[in-house]
């Protein structure tokens, strides 16, 4: 099976593109608006991905890697090779994308039933899957950057799917523009690396880094530039502002892109470029991730919109992964990416299912005022929507880090990494504090969400009779992904729920960093291994304390949230208003920019245009008036007309000779002859 992986991955890459092209051109005219085209394409990629995944198990080689590249652009010294790289990370990631994408396609057939742009929605899903697979398969920064932008475009298109709503249109613009900020850094990073090494391919870059072709300062800046791209895409602080707004898109899209795959692209990039990040760059990465993790978690506590809670939770979990990359345990980051993709996508599907039911119930009651996403209007759905409830509960256990669930393993690996990092560098003790703090808060707000939605008494008893479990197309993905929240899938062939040891750790082994002076993979792993038990105990303790607090507050009502909110005072309002980030960006970034722009516009219009340009106009006008006068009175009237007049005068006097009488002419001839003869005779 030499090249079979490359062939399969080419098919996996281009099938969704084909579906996109068919859908965008013919979708509306096909039966069922062509959703079966997209679904069959995506199911085929899923089958191929599973085949590759099984192939990976057959090989069971941690260093397995196949590469295929071709020259895309050859201009003498400037040559760009593009290509595909298939290794274990790629295969796992392809499976994640294909699986979540398939679930999203199937889920969407119900969730978007009767939507006016149904076929276009599926077309965009195909475009997204194509571009995401492109990122995953790239073996070089150049094509990764291209697909990176394509992912941004499809995100823009899908967030703005209901662009009639102003909020959706604005959210899509915000997502696109915020990503641009990161992508500029990404591009600068690529260019820096290219100038130093002369290649875009990962293998060449790593070789160049290890041989010291690139200076460490340049490498730090380049690494931070690349990481800025990852920050934009993975919505890290301070570029996190777009992700919560992106929830304006359809919920299955939120599950696919803004929870499982697209936002993971930044983490994926960080994992790929980890070997070239210098210690300084890694430190920045770790702190950005840590701050994002704790900061987003504190916002999620007070949000009332069910999707907003999940959005901030996603930001926080992505912060975890980025922090893990920064502390060196980047395989743990990738592991968390994998588990998080499953349980977070499932949580979004669950919220979609709940919103769907709310929508339906409110529609029955002709209530168009109540927000179907607000958790304050829910409660007590447990018996009405048992499948949604149970599968969401499994995923909530996973994200909260309860043992026996997938999130526990991956989160534990990350926390062990941060602990060991803090043991190596005691001055960075804040990082594990961020990590464990975020873990406790995560457990609290996730259970708050569950309790508010599914337990207790209904806040709106009148709609309860119309709340129904969602159709099979929606519960199917829920059951599948809910079961994937259980640890067993990730530790096979071993059954120890306390250890991550399993196929993943066998197949995805950490590589040494190529930057001279960084800790080697063995050292990092040793440290993490030592910290493992301590991390595990603390993380179990914080997870259960978070859950307990949520239980006491929302089920037993020992404390009421309102009292605590009052006690917390301004902290509560900060969290509720997302630390006023949008407002502050508006005040300190957008408004000054706008003011500056209007100042410049004033200079441009009122000064430059009005005085300089218009002045030029006036001078030209004046000059042309003078020239016109000279032209008219001088040249025209005297010279040109004068010529005419002279000709006229002469003509008038000479024309008398032309009598038209033949005899006169003969007379002239005769006279002429006579004159000639007289002249002759002298």
């Amino acid at each position: 099976m030499d090249n079979i992986f490359i062939k399969y991955s080419l098919i996996i890459l281009f099938l969704p593109l084909l579906a996109f092209l068919i859908q965008i051109f013919f979708g509306k005219n096909l039966p069922r608006q062509g959703d079966w085209v997209s679904i069959s394409a995506i199911v085929s990629t899923l089958v191929l991905s599973i085949t590759m995944f099984v192939g990976m198990f057959v090989e069971y080689d941690p260093n397995f890697s196949q590469e295929f590249s071709f020259t895309w652009l050859d201009m003498g010294a400037f040559k760009i090779d593009l290509g595909l790289l298939v290794d274990n990370i790629t295969i796992i990631m392809l499976l994640v994308v294909a699986l979540i994408s398939t679930c999203t396609h199937i889920f969407s057939t119900q969730y978007l039933k009767g939507d006016i742009r149904y076929s276009r929605y599926f077309a965009y899903l195909g475009l997204f899957t194509f571009s995401m697979n492109g990122i995953v398969l790239s073996n070089n920064l150049m094509s990764m950057y291209m697909f990176w932008e394509l992912v941004g475009v499809s995100s823009y298109l899908l967030i703005g799917h209901w662009f009639e709503k102003d909020s959706a249109a604005n959210a899509s613009k915000k997502a696109f523009l915020t990503n641009r900020v990161g992508d500029i850094g990404f591009f600068i990073g690529i260019m820096l690396i290219y100038t130093a090494i002369g290649s875009f391919a990962f293998s060449d870059i790593f070789e160049g880094v290890s041989s010291g072709v690139i200076k460490s300062t340049t490498l730090t800046i380049a690494g931070l530039g690349l990481f800025l791209g990852a920050m934009g895409k993975s919505s890290q602080f301070p570029l996190h502002i777009w992700l919560p707004d992106a929830m304006e898109g359809p919920t299955p899209v939120s599950a696919l892109m803004h929870a499982a795959t697209m936002v993971a692209a930044g983490v994926y990039l960080s994992v790929r470029i980890f070997p070239l990040l210098t210690p300084d760059a890694l430190l920045v990465v770790a702190y950005v991730g840590g701050i994002t993790a704790i900061f987003a978690a504190t916002i999620a506590i007070t949000q009332n919109d069910i999707k907003k809670v999940l959005a901030y939770s996603t930001v926080s979990q992505l912060g975890y992964m980025v922090m893990a990359v920064g502390t060196g345990v980047y395989t743990a980051a990738f592991f968390h990416l994998l588990t998080h993709a499953m349980f977070k996508a499932n949580l979004f599907y669950g919220s979609g299912s709940v919103i769907h039911a709310m929508h339906h119930a409110l529609h029955e009651k002709h209530d168009h005022e109540t927000d179907p996403q607000d958790m304050r209007n829910m409660g007590g759905f447990k018996t009405k929507m048992p499948i949604t409830h149970w599968s969401m509960l499994l995923s909530t256990f996973a994200i909260a880090g309860v043992p026996l669930f997938s999130g526990f393993l991956s989160k534990d690996a990350i926390l062990a990494g941060t602990l060991s990092f803090a043991q190596h560098h005691p001055q960075h003790i804040l990082l594990p504090i961020f990590g464990f703090g975020a873990a406790a808060i995560t457990a609290f707000y996730m259970f708050r969400m569950m309790f508010l939605t599914f337990y207790g008494d209904s806040c709106k008893p009148e709609i309860m009779s119309d709340i129904h479990e969602s159709p099979k197309e929606m519960t199917g993905p829920l059951v599948l992904l809910g079961s994937l929240s259980i640890f067993i899938w990730y530790t096979l062939p071993y059954f120890n729920p306390m250890s991550t040891h399993g196929w993943f750790t066998d197949l995805v082994t950490p590589q040494d960093s190529f930057v001279p002076g960084n800790l080697s993979a063995i050292e990092i792993e040793e440290g993490a291994h030592h910290a493992h038990y301590l991390a595990m105990y603390i993380s179990i303790a914080v997870a259960f304390s978070g859950i307990l607090l949520a239980y006491l507050m929302y089920i037993k009502k020992v404390f009421t949230a309102e009292n605590w909110a009052k006690k917390a005072g301004f902290l509560y309002y900060w969290s509720l208003n997302k630390y006023y980030f949008d407002e502050n960006y508006n005040r300190f970034l957008y408004q000054p920019t706008l003011r500056l722009a209007s100042k410049i516009a004033w200079v441009d219009w009122d000064l430059y245009d009005k005085y300089f340009i218009n002045g030029f106009g006036k001078i030209t006008n004046l000059a042309s008036h003078i020239t016109a006068k000279l032209d008219f009175h001088g040249i025209d009237q005297i010279l040109v007309d004068g010529n005419g007049k002279i000709v006229n005068i002469f003509g008038k006097s000479i024309k008398r000779v032309q009598t038209g009488k033949l005899q006169n002419y003969v007379l002239y001839v005769t006279a002429g002859v006579i004159i000639l003869m007289i002249i002759q005779s002298f």
Partner: protein, 101 residues
């Protein structure tokens, strides 16, 4: 009488009479007659030079050509004059000025 000059004088006189006729007459026919006189003056010159210039019969042949041409010219010109008369009821050449202006 066998002098070239005599012939030339006669031819000159005839030519002058013809030119005078062309210049002074207003009658189309009279103008034509003047033209004929000029042509015949030229003919006399041709023949005279041929006779006294030691040449062969070249001049005679030229003279014959001129006569033929004159006949043709007279026919065309008379036709023109008749047309003018038909259209304008006069053969005064000064009145035939409708192309003027």
């Amino acid at each position: 009488m066998d002098q070239l000059n005599n012939y030339l004088f006669i031819a000159a006189a005839l030519f002058s009479l013809g030119v005078f006729g062309v210049m002074t007459r207003r009658n189309g026919i009279a103008v034509l007659m003047g033209v004929e006189l000029i042509l015949n003056a030229a003919n006399i010159n041709f023949v005279a030079f041929s006779r006294f210039g030691g040449m062969n019969f070249d001049g005679h042949i030229f003279g014959l050509f001129v006569i033929v041409l004159a006949a043709a010219e007279a026919a065309v010109a008379l036709a023109i004059v008749i047309n003018i008369y038909n259209n304008l009821n006069t053969i005064n050449v000064d009145d035939a000025s409708s192309l003027k202006n």
